[in-house]
């Protein structure tokens, strides 16, 4: 019997008892549907986080802080360190400050391509055209980093003029009008220097950022603006006080692979610094989501196993029903191996039908949920709650087919072992 005839016959046989097959297909459908949906949820959320990653930093940059040597390992209170300064993060959290010597040390570590201290600047307010003054925080920006823009373009890091990207939420309060209107306007920024004197400087709005998960609320300056603000802020500070940085950005070769990155982190740690890549920072979120998805997938797989038992049942009934037919075909010279493949392919066909329908339905529901959640989760723009990537869809369909095949082996073996004579006996 030719392979194409076996598949064709198995296909026709699968739908010979329509109601029975439909019910089994339904059971698989439910399992595949759930699995696709939970998978899609994980994909959607992780995709969103990945997209957000681009607005936080780039993958060849590591944020380096000084390791708190004083932190006791037993969880007790840490000794006061006069070098501690306020760190980015939850209020009250501190890190040991880096000074210029540290920067030199880091630059000398093998694997560090370049290092740039992060100069933190604090602005008092932002103002446009002598209007109301608003507080504005400055986000740190490294080359390659991108934010989702509503209008304009990313800041030019090499430009001599002071530039910044404003969050969209500042446009109306500042009186800048629409996003397109705002691009090209000049805003005034104020800082207080070390002596307590307030000075102002101007910056050009080159872009308007859409609110994102992480950069929400902060403005993104270019180097020229950061330098200006930093200098203004540092004016009047006593010479003796060394320059301190909360953190530094370290560029490394991301293409060298994970192991090399890990080795670099180890070397930094040996030198007394903590280097964390973007992946480290987001890894926690992603792994929590992965864990949740894994648990949900577990439930779906249980449903699929139950459906697999349904296939076993269905096929045993089919083998029983077709005892004579199988006997006749074997009498006519059909080999046991072919009989086995006839029934196991029939199982795979049932699995394929159930999983294909399940995946299609899940994609449909995903689209539906996507359009509903778009309005429900309006403050998380760019989030597709349920996303499908072709690979995971294919994996779902193929693994359901594999489960179906396994489920089909038992009945198929019984059919293959049937003795044609006893199958054809009718007395």
């Amino acid at each position: 019997m030719k392979a194409v005839d076996i598949v064709g016959t198995a296909f026709r046989n699968a739908f010979r008892s329509r109601l029975r097959t439909s019910l089994t297909v339904l059971a698989i459908f439910i399992g595949a549907f759930t699995l696709s949906l939970t998978n899609g949820l994980g994909t959607g959320i992780n995709q969103y986080i990945d997209d957000t990653v681009a607005s936080v930093g780039v993958d060849d940059v590591m944020t380096v802080t000084k390791a708190s040597e004083t932190a006791p390992t037993d969880g007790g209170p840490a000794e006061y360190d006069p070098n501690q300064i306020a760190a980015d993060g939850p209020p009250g959290s501190t890190v040991s400050a880096l000074n210029d010597d540290d920067i030199d040390t880091i630059a000398g570590i093998d694997g560090v391509l370049s290092v740039l201290p992060t100069k933190s600047v604090m602005t008092d307010y932002v103002q446009y055209d002598d209007g109301t003054r608003y507080q504005l925080s400055m986000a740190q920006f490294v080359p390659g980093m991108k934010v989702e823009l509503a209008a304009g373009e990313q800041v030019d890091l090499d430009a001599d003029e002071a530039q910044l990207v404003l969050p969209e939420s500042y446009l109306e309060p500042l009186g800048l009008g629409t996003a397109d209107d705002a691009v090209g306007q000049t805003v005034t920024l104020a800082v207080t220097d070390a002596t307590g004197t307030r000075t102002t400087t101007d910056a050009i709005v080159v872009g308007v950022a859409e609110p994102g998960l992480i950069t929400m609320g902060g403005a993104i300056p270019n180097d020229a603006l950061t330098e200006t603000l930093y200098d203004l802020q540092a004016a009047g500070a006593p010479e003796s006080k060394p320059t301190q940085y909360a953190q530094a950005s370290v560029w490394f070769d991301a293409d060298a692979g994970e192991e090399e990155t890990q080795a670099l982190q180890d070397r930094l740690e040996a030198a007394g610094y903590t280097g964390s890549t973007l992946e480290d920072q987001l890894g926690t979120i992603t792994s929590v989501i992965d864990a949740i998805v894994l648990v949900l997938n577990g439930f779906a797989v249980i449903a699929l196993i139950a459906a697999g038992i349904g296939i076993v049942n269905t096929l045993f009934m089919a083998v029983q029903e077709r005892t004579r037919e199988v006997g006749l075909m074997k009498a006519m010279g059909l080999s046991s191996a072919r009989v086995f493949s006839l029934f196991s392919i029939e199982a795979v066909v049932i699995g394929l039908a159930g999983s294909a329908l399940g995946v299609l339905a899940a994609i449909g529901v995903g689209e539906l949920v996507g359009s509903v959640s778009g309005s429900l989760l309006a403050n998380l723009p760019g989030l597709t709650l349920i996303a499908f990537d072709p690979v995971s869809v294919a994996v779902v369909v193929l693994s359901v087919m594999a489960i179906a095949f396994l489920a089909g082996t038992l009945p198929a073996l019984r059919a293959a072992r049937q003795d044609p004579i006893s199958s054809l006996r009718y007395e």
Partner: protein, 231 residues
């Protein structure tokens, strides 16, 4: 005389083992010549069906030899046995064993499908076989929609399709009324006479047996009597 198509020597077949063992055939010898029609007659339990199953290579004997066309069949592999049954034998059973939902043509071409013949050739040969049995107008019908006599003609067409050397018929008219039974008999003997296809008919119908060239009577696993032209 030419060497027989099928030659059986000292054939034993025992079912089960130990105290429950049942000896269905107790050392049977039989030669079937090329082109011969032979009836195997006996009561139920006499061993006639067992003999047919062994002759048709559906089962292996406990001891003894069956030679088909000079080949000792005990030396054939499972694959070769399958191929032999597929290409050299045709089967007609009392019950039709038709796939009720499939078309008449699909039922008839099943042996060709098993043999791996292409769809186009299957259709052509299937239509030819149906035409021979005057059923070509029913090719597209479902097997279920046919009368008993038509069904048995479909079964004969199916047995013919691979141009077999032997047709094994187990009570071919058992399920038919006398008139249709006679028609089916005519067809079978016509095939035997015109195409030289051997007929091995298992029956307890004396009238059918008497139409064969030769009848052998099986009792308690042995040939009790020969009738007709001795081979």
């Amino acid at each position: 005389m030419a060497s027989p198509l099928i030659s059986v020597t000292n054939l034993h077949k025992t079912y089960g083992s130990g105290p429950n063992a049942f000896e269905a055939l107790k050392g049977l010898d039989l030669d079937i010549a090329e082109g011969e029609s032979i009836a195997i007659v006996g009561k139920s339990g006499s061993g006639k069906s067992t003999l047919m199953h062994l002759l048709a290579l559906l089962d292996r004997p406990t001891s003894g030899a069956i030679t088909l066309d000079g080949t000792d069949t005990s030396r054939l592999s499972a694959k070769q046995l399958n191929e032999t049954r597929n290409s050299a034998f045709g089967f007609v059973f009392q019950q039709f064993f038709l796939n009720a939902q499939a078309s008449v043509l699909d039922n008839v071409t099943l042996p060709l499908k098993i043999a791996g013949v292409s769809r186009r050739e299957r259709t052509a040969r299937g239509m030819a076989a149906l035409a021979q049995l005057e059923l070509d107008d029913k090719a597209g019908n479902k097997a279920n929609d046919l009368s008993g006599g038509q069904k048995q003609r479909v079964v004969i067409a199916r047995a013919l399709i691979n141009q077999p050397r032997v047709i094994f018929a187990d009570e071919p008219t058992g399920n038919l009324d006398t008139a249709t039974g006679a028609v089916v008999e005519d067809i079978l003997f016509d095939l035997n006479r015109r195409q030289g296809i051997n007929l091995v008919v298992v029956t307890h119908d004396e009238d059918l047996a008497s139409r064969c060239d030769r009848s052998i009577y099986i009792r308690d696993g042995l040939i009790a009597a020969h009738e007709g032209v001795a081979a």
